[in-house]
């Protein structure tokens, strides 16, 4: 199959669109959170200002080559995951590079960014970074359990690993969505989503109120700018992936924005309500509750489908 070079500008356009979606959703969510808490809240376009400010800082400090590369790995991971997932069903322009791999490559590419970030933070030489990474990785591997089981369940249901095929099977009305045809798997997937979004109760990694040191403090200026860029793209990429697998995909950008926003709000709402788990709590939680649920969901899926 000849490589179509037109794909590259399409991909850049796609990234640009999702970047903006991510920034705006970030701003809106923070505004909503503030309003719920009785405050006025930031301007909706505040994330843009933060980003430009970081890129414009005149000086920056580095701890070494891997520190330099950490944010690069992270953003590569974020953009890579997004590009491997088809964004708009039925659109050649916005199916990105999903012809190169199926859902498994997206699943495993998520780790690329995590690994890079871990390496970068580790190079910072700060012990708290290392602590955070240790917890974060341990939690990620526990949180991945429902994720892989949910993905596997979806694959069993549709007998395919190809995301486009799965989205195609969900067209034709809300009753065809995986959410409706296989609610157990969707619940499992949502639990996985919570784990991967790293909001409460699973935000021990950064534990914002507890450890005001480590990566957020050590990375600054352009490095932090790159990480913030990633913070706009990566969660969106994961949400788009979940949308494709469980909620019927999107046939145009407006539906995509709506669905992504709503799915994202699920994690936000859970996040503002629940307190934080400790690292061993969260690991045990995933093994004790998510794993049996996953087994049950798989059994049911394999029987029905």
């Amino acid at each position: 199959m000849e490589f179509q070079w037109i794909k590259i500008p399409y991909a850049l356009l796609s990234i640009f669109i999702i970047f903006n979606i991510g920034m705006l959703i970030n701003g809106v969510v923070r505004k909503i959170g503030a309003r719920v808490g009785g405050r006025y809240g930031i301007r909706v376009y505040q994330p843009y200002i933060d980003l430009i400010k970081n890129y414009a800082l005149r000086s920056n400090v580095s701890h070494g080559i891997m520190f330099y590369l950490g944010p690069v790995f992270r953003l590569t991971g974020g953009v890579g995951v997004y590009l491997l997932v088809p964004a708009i069903y039925g659109s050649v322009m916005f199916s990105n590079f999903s012809f190169a791999g199926d859902m498994i490559v997206a699943l495993y590419f998520i780790f690329f960014g995590t690994l890079g970030m871990a390496l970068g933070a580790g190079e910072g030489g700060h012990p708290y970074s290392a602590l955070g990474i240790g917890r974060g990785l341990a939690q990620v591997t526990a949180a991945e359990i429902p994720m892989v089981m949910a993905f596997l369940g979806v694959a069993v249901q549709y007998q395919s690993l190809n995301i486009t095929t799965i989205v195609a099977a969900q067209q034709g009305g809300i009753m065809n969505w995986t959410m409706m045809t296989n609610p157990l798997i969707t619940i499992l997937g949502l639990i996985a989503f919570l784990g991967t979004m790293m909001r409460s109760p699973f935000d021990i990694v950064l534990a914002p109120q507890e450890i005001p040191i480590g990566p957020p403090t050590e990375f600054h200026s352009t490095f932090l700018g790159v990480l913030q860029t990633n913070r706009a793209i990566f969660p969106m990429a994961k949400t788009v992936l979940f949308m494709n697998l469980f909620f019927g995909g999107a046939t145009n950008w407006w539906i995509l924005i709506l669905k992504v926003f709503l799915i994202y709000m699920v994690s936000v709402i859970v996040g503002v309500v629940f307190p934080r788990f400790r690292a061993d709590h969260s690991i045990r939680w995933f093994y004790k509750y998510a794993l049996p649920l996953g087994i049950l969901a798989l059994i049911v899926t394999s029987i029905i489908f």
Binding site: F97, D102, V105, L115, L119, G122, Q159, L161, T222
Partner: protein, 1047 residues
């Protein structure tokens, strides 16, 4: 042709006259003494040559009459062999004792001559009473030789010997008297024809008593306490003759009266023999005194020979036929040479405890001899005992005697425990003192070891199937060359070995087909790459190259094996070579032992399976027939698979791996981890492609294997995250990764096997890379604990990149080739529907991320420790293979189809349906697709783009000092304060602690302790009191008689 009577004439004459000649000076007597011994050797040798050439068996008549009216001697082929062996032993032992003989009274030499002469008589005589006479001569001479030291221990040991000998003599006489009464003759052959044990109870009793007399002399369990005291106390030069020579004589006596025995007696004899073997080796486990240990081994080996001989005769094999000669003879001659050699060594070292034999390290050739004797006793190639045991298992399996086989193999394993434990102590001992070995002491040992080796080569040619062993000629020639050239500097030897292996591989690989070709690349090409780090070693590296070549010989043999004998020989060669490589590590002693015992145990289980295969297919060794077996195929399957799983280190059989791989030297670890484990996979492929539906009742064995594989992945990876030692982490990671291989194979589908092979290829690439990189790091920083490292990225950047690529491949993160395995795993789960094993495997794979990160973080990132501020990058010979492997990984990641499509082609022959459809470089299955090249390009492109973006937007970056970090009002001053290295995953341990209980270790330790405790308990019957031993003997006779009557 000299009349054999001259043996006796010369011995007796010299014996009488030596006291006279001694008046002329000790030198004169010594000359005569050795001359006589040499003459005895010459006579036996002359007869042997003549008999091999085809002469008739000679009957020597005395007193002018023919038997049964007179005594006659016989010199046939068996007699010539045995007398030659005994006489050579006598000459060499006499030479060994030259210092003693020069110093003490001349009577010693006289008695020695009598002892040797007596044994010759035991062998040659054909008259029952004459046999008794020679037995007595030997006994008295031996007793005197034992007591020659005149200290308490020897005199009491000698006395106990006389007590036992006395009982034996009494019983012999009674038996002979009654047999004479019943048959009217004393000539053995005529007696055999005239006596029928079935005719009356009394006849049976008479034969029984006679048999017991000889058996007692052969030291059966439990009536052998006296023998152990003799072995322990007497002078080693004398004990050598007793252990080897007297047993030779008595065994031959047994051989002579065998025609008198009936089936019940033969079976009883077999039982006594194998029980003695098992019991002696069990009791030897706790022994610390060197000579007593050798005593246990001796008794055991004689019991084995006796038992095997009796069993073969019972099964109907002719007494002087080829099978009996090969099996019993092979076992016996190995014992003969090895025991004599070991006792001679004991005399040289003159140390009581086995711990103290370390001085042998000062004399390499004698260390070699020691190791050779140990290998010979356990029954490893290239010694005759190996082929004898092989043939024994084949023959007995054909006859259905599986309990006997199991008992013998168990006994051998027990013997291996204490012998190799001893060898390990010697190899790793701290040596301070010098060792002096005189020519007279050294020569016999060297003769013994080279005789054993030579006889091994000969036995290899006569064993059925032996012609096929010529595939080993060239490689073994290289092994011998490396032993001889061991004085050269290491880099010279390295070059020779790499060149030789390269040439051999060049010739071999094109002739291999399908999966053998692929394994050939891993074993041979991989082996050559992994020899390159050898250039980093200064000095001579004595003892490395012969065994490294031996290991690769075994691997090459596996690739070429067409029949089961070749397979098993290759397997054992591989085990021996790798054992000696692993034990080179400083702290490797217990781990190398554990490795060897598991390997041997697995090999013996495999041997049983091969024996059953031999029996089921009617006596054919061809491996290709494995697929045609219908009956018992499941049992053969289980036995062979268990054997291969010990090499593959599956859960439960894995406990040897972490220690062995972690403590091995820096370039040995990659060899054993990346290459050797695949030998187990090779075996599994051979078996599983031949026997495709193994079932026990309704249970599919492969289903069980899939669970074993899944649990191995999970628990192996889980154990790895808690390790503090970098190499142990990698070792546990190997355990986990090979679980994937087992799982994939057990699925028995095209894609499943493709997955296994992909994992195996990837594992070879990344594990070699990781072990080399970490080996290089450890080389420089001199510690293996990760919490003592840190920040090494600044000093060792290339090693860092190697580890980075290695862990990305291990974790299976795209774009590198490890992802191929993960993607295939999902495909096979969807295809087969075994979701639960799949979940366990996937979780295990996720856990792998944890230790991947820990490895790279703790070693390379963070703060550099003060003592490492000036470490250099790893030595260049370590870096070159790393670069080669990294290039290989990149190639495999970009063009996976080039390799995997060929793999798919040969898998189609076994599993026609369900493969990968390769369209261009894109892999398509019914479920999904994967384009390795595009993903690699995509990742690279994004990475470069983002990096460019960062650099465009960057201002002047200021590099700050190490401690310039925000630390909440504290100022860290030492790197140790900022390095989070120890107990990194404490929270994981807290959450999942229960899953990490070392059940397997506890299980195997429990078994080992159980055996040791049992052995220790039974040892207590040897109280040292001669009267107790007397009671033992009498009770033994009574109890055995009760069994015989009961039959």
């Amino acid at each position: 042709m000299v009349n054999p009577l001259y043996i006796f004439i010369l011995a007796l004459g010299a014996g009488f006259l030596l006291t006279l000649f001694d008046k002329a000076g000790r030198k004169v007597s010594l000359i005569i003494f050795y001359a006589v011994l040499a003459a005895m050797v010459a006579i036996s040798a002359q007869w042997l040559v003549a008999l091999i050439g085809g002469s008739e068996t000679a009957m020597i008549y005395t007193a002018g009459f023919k038997p049964p009216f007179s005594i006659n001697l016989q010199m046939g082929l068996e007699e010539a062999i045995f007398t030659l062996a005994v006489n050579v032993l006598g000459l060499l032992s006499g030479l060994y004792l030259i210092k003693k003989f020069s110093a003490i009274k001349v009577n010693a030499m006289v008695l020695f001559l009598m002892m040797i002469m007596g044994i010759n008589g035991l062998i040659m005589t054909r008259d029952m009473f004459n046999l008794f006479v020679f037995m007595e001569i030997t006994s008295i001479a031996t007793f005197a030789m034992i007591g020659i030291e005149r200290d308490v221990k020897t005199l009491s040991a000698g006395f106990k010997y006389m007590i036992a000998g006395g009982i034996a003599s009494v019983l012999f006489l009674i038996g002979t008297i009654y047999l004479y009464c019943f048959s009217g003759m004393l000539h053995i052959d005529s007696m055999a024809m005239a006596i029928d044990t079935a005719s009356s109870q009394a006849t049976l009793l008479a034969v029984f008593i006679l048999l017991m007399a000889i058996v007692i002399e052969l030291k059966p369990f439990p009536a052998n306490g006296w023998a152990l005291d003799v072995y322990e106390a007497a002078d080693p030069g004398v004990v050598a003759v007793i252990a080897a020579g007297s047993s030779a004589g008595m065994l031959f006596a047994l051989y002579k009266i065998t025609p008198l025995l009936n089936e019940t007696l033969l079976l009883t004899l077999a039982a006594i023999g194998v029980t003695t073997f098992l019991a002696s080796n069990l009791m030897g486990l706790m022994q610390k005194n060197a000579k007593r240990l050798l005593g246990y081994s001796s008794i055991g080996q004689i019991g084995l020979v006796m038992g095997v001989f009796a069993m073969l005769v019972y099964l109907g094999y002719p007494i002087n036929g080829k099978m009996v000669m090969l099996i019993a003879g092979g076992l016996f001659i190995t014992h003969f040479a090895a025991k004599a050699g070991l006792f001679w060594l004991a005399g040289i070292l003159n140390k009581e405890e086995i711990e103290d034999w370390g001085a042998l390290r000062k004399k390499p050739i004698f260390l070699f001899a020691f190791g050779a004797f140990i290998l010979a006793l356990v029954g490893l190639p290239p010694f005759p005992s190996f082929f004898a045991k092989w043939q024994m298992v084949m023959v007995l399996a054909k006859e259905g005697q599986f309990i006997f086989i199991a008992a013998v193999l168990l006994g051998t394993l027990l013997e291996a425990v204490y012998l190799f434990r001893w060898l390990g102590k010697v190899l790793q001992a701290e040596v301070k003192e010098k060792l002096k070995i005189s020519f007279a002491q050294g020569l016999p040992i060297l003769v013994a070891v080279f005789t054993a080796l030579g006889l091994g080569a000969y036995t290899a040619t006569v064993v059925p199937g032996g012609e096929s062993l010529n595939i080993f000629y060239l490689p073994l020639l290289l092994v011998v060359a490396m032993f001889v050239l061991d004085f050269l500097p290491a880099w010279v030897k390295n070059t020779i070995v790499i060149a030789a292996m390269g040439l051999f591989t060049w010739k071999l690989l094109p002739n291999l087909e399908s999966y053998r070709f692929m394994f050939g690349i891993i074993f041979m090409v991989g082996g050559i790459i992994l020899l390159i780090p050898g250039y980093a070693y200064k000095g001579k590296r004595v003892g490395f190259y012969p065994f490294a070549v031996m290991m690769y010989t075994g691997l090459a043999g596996l690739l070429m094996a067409e029949n089961t004998l070749q397979l098993f020989t290759a397997w054992e060669l591989m085990t021996i070579g790798s054992y000696f490589l692993i034990i080179r590590g400083k702290k490797a002693k217990p781990h190398a032992l554990s490795y060897l015992l598991f390997s041997l145990g697995g090999a013996y289980v495999m041997l049983s399976g091969l024996g059953l295969f031999f029996a089921e297919n009617g006596g054919n060794l061809d491996i290709a027939l494995l697929s045609t077996i219908t009956q018992s195929s499941s049992i053969i399957y289980i036995l062979l698979v268990v054997g291969f799983l010990t090499k593959l280190a599956s859960m439960g059989l894995h406990i040897w791996l972490p220690g062995a791989h972690a403590e091995a030297e820096a370039d040995v670890s990659p060899m054993v981890s990346a290459i050797l484990l695949k030998a187990g996979m090779f075996g599994l492929i051979v078996v599983m492609s031949a026997i495709q539906n193994p079932m026990i009742g309704k249970v599919d064995i492969n289903y069980i294997l899939s669970w074993v594989g899944a649990i191995t992945v999970f628990l192996g990876n889980l154990a790895a995250i808690y390790q503090e030692d970098a190499k142990r982490l990698l070792a546990y990671s190997s355990v986990g990764n090979l679980g994937y291989v087992l799982f994939g194979l057990s699925l028995m589908t095209h894609l499943g096997w493709l997955t296994s092979i992909t994992y195996a290829l990837n594992h070879f690439l990344f594990k070699a890379l990781l072990f080399l990189a970490i080996g290089g790091v450890v080389w420089r920083v001199k510690t293996k604990n990760m919490y003592e490292m840190g920040g090494l990225i600044k000093r060792m950047p290339i090693s860092f990149i190697s580890v980075l690529i290695g862990i990305i491949t291990l974790a299976g993160v795209p774009p590198l080739s490890g992802y191929a395995g993960k993607w295939l795993t999902y495909n096979i789960l969807l295809e087969k529907g075994w979701y639960f094993q799949g979940i366990v495997i996937i979780i295990g794979g996720l856990i792998a991320f944890l230790y991947c990160f820990r490895l790279i973080y703790a070693v390379f990132l963070g703060q550099l420790k003060d003592e490492h501020r000036n470490v250099k990058e790893a030595p260049l010979p370590f870096l070159i293979p790393q670069v080669i492997l990294m290039i290989a990984i990149m190639f495999f990641s970009a063009y996976p189809g080039m390799i995997l499509s060929h793999v798919g082609d040969f898998l189609t022959k076994i599993f026609p349906a369900g493969g990968i459809d390769w369209q261009g470089g894109v892999a398509m299955t019914q479920f999904g697709h994967w384009d390795g090249f595009t993903i690699l390009m995509l990742t690279g492109g994004i990475f470069v783009a983002v990096l460019a973006w960062l650099m465009i937007n960057n201002r002047k970056t200021q590099k700050v000092k190490q401690f310039n970090i925000v630390y909440a009002a504290e100022r860290p001053s030492r790197p140790e304060l900022t390095h989070v290295g120890y107990n990194f995953f404490a929270h994981y341990n807290k959450a999942l602690g229960v899953l990490s209980t070392p059940l397997a270790v506890k299980f195997w330790n429990g078994i080992a302790d159980g055996f040791h405790a049992t052995g220790d308990f039974f040892r207590k019957i040897y109280t040292g009191n001669g009267q107790t031993y007397l009671v033992h003997i009498i009770l033994f006779v009574v109890v055995v008689y009760a069994f015989v009557i009961g039959e």
